[in-house]
């Protein structure tokens, strides 16, 4: 790394300060701007002791040749124009989830980046946590066998968003985690969504997603803004082991259980469903303590330098978007299953 990559953060709202902090802590990056229409807010984010420049104009930032890359933390509805402008100015782009407000917009960004040979990376932060990286290893190495089912719960008393429902706000996390750990990413065949809005907010505040993956595996996601209690649990059921990830249990986030049920192996038994049970030990792997966003920044820099696709590239963003759009269509259709390829072409491996 001869020369650090010049980067600008766009958006000084909820997530921007985290990008600022982690960009500064990444040796391969040189933070040049924090850009926000509200320059006062940007100044407050940087504080009184920073040498980083504040800029209220995206154009000015993109015009600076010292800026090689842009990290975007603006509302999803603005991702298309902001990211497009950045790509057209020849900048690499790291974009907050979801990639864009809809699949068509996301696709436009992916194509623009491809044509220009620029990195387009999703800030799927969870994919860079030690827990997900270990889970990815457990799934992809075959240690847990084949995946049998997935179940994710992400509920707490959350902020009711003014522009998106609970699916678009929270489920991108679950979907991008599925995408990170499954061998071919999250290949969803069809989606059923049930939601409710018991406080009259004008959008679903409680939601249940049932995903049928292309290999027939069923995955379920429960997202909820109204729960007084916070739960962040994912179960990855495998044929050899089942992993339970409890993200709030700081001392034992992952538990790899040698417990499960299997069909006894004789044909004649199949009719009778003779089931055998394993009730073995549980292993809690030691995980490093590491801030995920540090890993996001390092991967962004490395993918630019090495001219390769990042772990969470545009196509992972598209798979998430296509699933969310199908979920919205299902919700509108009263919960019936909607095929993902109705909204976007099936993602290519």
């Amino acid at each position: 790394m001869d020369q650090p990559i010049g980067i600008a953060v766009v958006g000084a709202g909820y997530w921007g300060p985290n990008l600022v902090r982690n960009a500064q802590a990444t040796p391969a990056l040189k933070l040049r701007y924090l850009c926000d229409l509200d320059t006062e807010r940007a100044r407050r984010v940087l504080g009184d002791y920073s040498t980083v420049r504040v800029c209220g104009s995206l154009d000015d930032v993109l015009a600076d040749p010292a800026v090689d890359a842009v990290a975007i933390a603006t509302p999803a509805a603005t991702h298309l124009p902001v990211a497009l402008a950045a790509l057209r100015a020849g900048k690499h782009v790291l974009v907050e989830k979801p990639l864009a407000a809809n699949y068509a917009d996301g696709l436009e960004l992916v194509r623009e980046a491809e044509e220009r040979g620029l990195t387009l990376m999703l800030d799927h932060t969870f994919a860079y946590t030690p827990a997900v990286q270990h889970l990815r290893h457990l799934v992809r190495s075959g240690e847990i066998g084949t995946v049998r089912y997935l179940d994710s719960v992400r509920i707490n008393l959350g902020l009711v968003q003014p522009d998106v429902d609970v699916f678009w706000d929270l489920a991108p996390h679950d979907l991008s985690i599925f995408d990170a750990i499954l061998p071919d990413g999250v290949r969803v065949a069809r989606v059923s969504a049930h939601g409710s809005d018991p406080i009259g907010a004008g959008r679903a505040c409680v939601g249940h997603l049932t995903l049928e993956l292309s290999d027939g595996v069923l995955a379920h996601v429960h997202v909820n803004w109204l729960s007084p209690t916070k739960i962040r649990t994912m179960i990855v059921g495998g044929s050899r082991r089942t992993v339970v990830w409890d993200d709030l249990n700081a001392v034992q986030r992952l538990s790899v259980h040698d417990r499960g049920a299997d069909l006894a192996d004789s044909d004649e038994n199949r009719r009778q469903a003779i089931v055998s049970y394993r009730r073995g030990d549980t292993v809690a792997p030691a995980l490093p303590e590491r801030e995920a966003l540090r890993g996001v920044m390092a991967e962004f820099a490395a993918s630019i330098t090495e001219k390769r696709a990042p772990l969470t590239d545009g196509s992972s963003g598209l798979r998430v978007l296509a699933t969310l759009e199908a979920a919205s269509a299902s919700l509108a259709a009263g919960g019936e299953f909607v095929a993902v390829d109705r909204v976007g072409p099936p993602a290519t491996p």
Copy 2:
């Protein structure tokens, strides 16, 4: 209570021994028989020190005038003939959940009991736990406001049943608990069920039920035989308080949270969905330690003596059955919503 009520337990399998033990501990009951075709098994259940008689013939038991009541813990498929025989012999009946193998059979039992003026009670054991009784009080007294949503998770490494799927095995618990706590019982308008059978058992082993109640409230139930980790959590979201019941947390089963989101009250704000949040204290009410089945037995005896409907009467059993049947229909129809009145008349208050 001049004379204790003579009772016979039918079925010495998984649940029968619990009925035997609790019937013996209930002063208002006099246990006269343990009845099972497999008399050897019945003898083992009673042990070497019991004065209770073993009997292999239901007819003989029903012919004994000292038997006033029968508690049935046989497979669901046999509930109709066994309970019908008992009722026709003039015996009061306590029956294991579910009431019968289908709604029509259940209805026949309810009508038979009504015509004969006999008690027909469901052993919805959970309804008699201190936690549910307190929850019932919190909901029915209005302390938590109006119910906004219900969410129940009942998962562990369970026995894959040879005759029923995971919905019929586990969801009766959740449905009967809803029935016990909601002011008019669980009035389900329509049901959507998603299930999967990832081990090839021939029936759903993982299941998700979405219930739309007659007042529009959405309830969700997750049942799972394949989870290595055991979870028994129910959330009852209310407009004033939300209760989280964690049945595995012996020292704090119920937590009543003064936490939640509400829509701000002005009409002009409604468009903007201005939301206010409460983040108050949590109260964990002191609950007595008491075996639920003891309460079942006491209620059975009291309802007989006082000639009144028991808390968990036949109609509660019918509401549960109708919901389960609609769930099976939804499952067969690929998850589409099925109206409960397609399978049974809407239960009357």
Copy 3:
């Protein structure tokens, strides 16, 4: 086992019913009597359906040749006369902890049993739990290396006993567990005890024991009747692994941690205390679900039949008693260390 061993339970108070239930469930035993001065209480314990005889006279029970053994669950102060009478009548004895009210009495019982060739066994129930048996295996097999320290916490809102302080009420559990798991039993060199009586009960309600074992290892026990929260945790620190036993965590009672600190191995470093750390995985071994008292009964029967010392024999009871007596002496002396051989001869291996 040609003929089951005839047994009588003496004492129908708090613990007696458990002995009755488990004796009945043990095929090698034949329960003949429940003996209590308060025959009405004994009858209530047996219930209305039992063939077991109630007897108010210990002499009558001991005179019955069908009684081969006696299980004693009377107050500690009565252990000497009751057990002595039983032994002198030629009966094997299982006695509730502690063995006797003081070391001298306990020694008399041990000698009487030895002279007569009879089994004298302590009901150190915890020693027969799956958790302690696995812990015993982990320690004795060398899997955790050499023991470095022991720490036990046993606190909750407990019944303030009228006759003994919190050390004599609760610490026998911790001491007998240490005794079961350590290769040579719990060999205590000296003891320091601190206690307080903040409610004015006339005896220590909160207590801390520091034990210096004969090999220099320090063990600490915290017992407390006044804690609103219940904690039952033991840490067995070893040179290779450290085990944490949380008895209230039903799904993960034992956690075997490959985590710890070690001195780096060079002499010159010793002065500098260069320490290396292991931060490896945690393994939660699968444990069977089994009632401990069933194991107590089986061991009692087996030790009689096989004419061998039981796992928790009289000498284990003496080691516990000697430690408790030294603790009382320390408490009286303001917490100074008291050598255990001041109260009893050091137990022989």
Copy 4:
């Protein structure tokens, strides 16, 4: 606040970066220097984007009139010379716990600050957590009644310090928390300390402190560097309520239990120790999420501006030091109780 208070942080090791970050975030302070002999380390702490100056010379920092105050995060052994130099240069001082390496040194600092009318404040960070501030309120307002006992456990796999034992490393936290919550601060009459060094580190790695407070209350502190599992629990037993603080339970740090035992109130009963029990509800108060060190900085600034003693003033530091010294004396004397006034005069109210 016309002009922010100019401050320098001294020490860029483990804790210094936290002081730097929080000083920068405090409007009433203006961070002017980070001072460390190792200027390269200081530069790394500030990062590449800071306008704060690095300085390798304490003298130069103290000579700058723009520096009004100094926050010291150097090893305890250097607190005396560093803080003394700062005070003599007329600077207010915030010093890392413990105040100094021994009581005499600490006293010298307190007197120097008093003579010069300067603020000398201890960074007892825990005292500024929302949990301790609420606990302080509960104790001082009388809501929990009179304090009956204190119990604190602070164990995990910690860094074996090269210069101090586990008592001096960890117990200052517990003692300063006691000091913050008790109405008159932690008035310790005498101390008994037991420690062990099972890895041969040359200093106690496992420690137990028994404190007898001046009003007779017993407090116990368990500190341990070798535990594979992390526990941070404090019990404050009161005559009306008992509070359990579990600092690792982020969703319910404080539990206020209406559970306890009381002596029944008649004189004749006193002999019999008739005890009554309360088994009421538990309340978990809502606590704000707030970084404690932010509160430390705000209090430091406010105490300077308002020319008043800070919450954690020099005398609180002396009370902690005197207790630690008595603990060391007790440890050297084999655990016997050592009066605190043997090492320092009893702190004055």
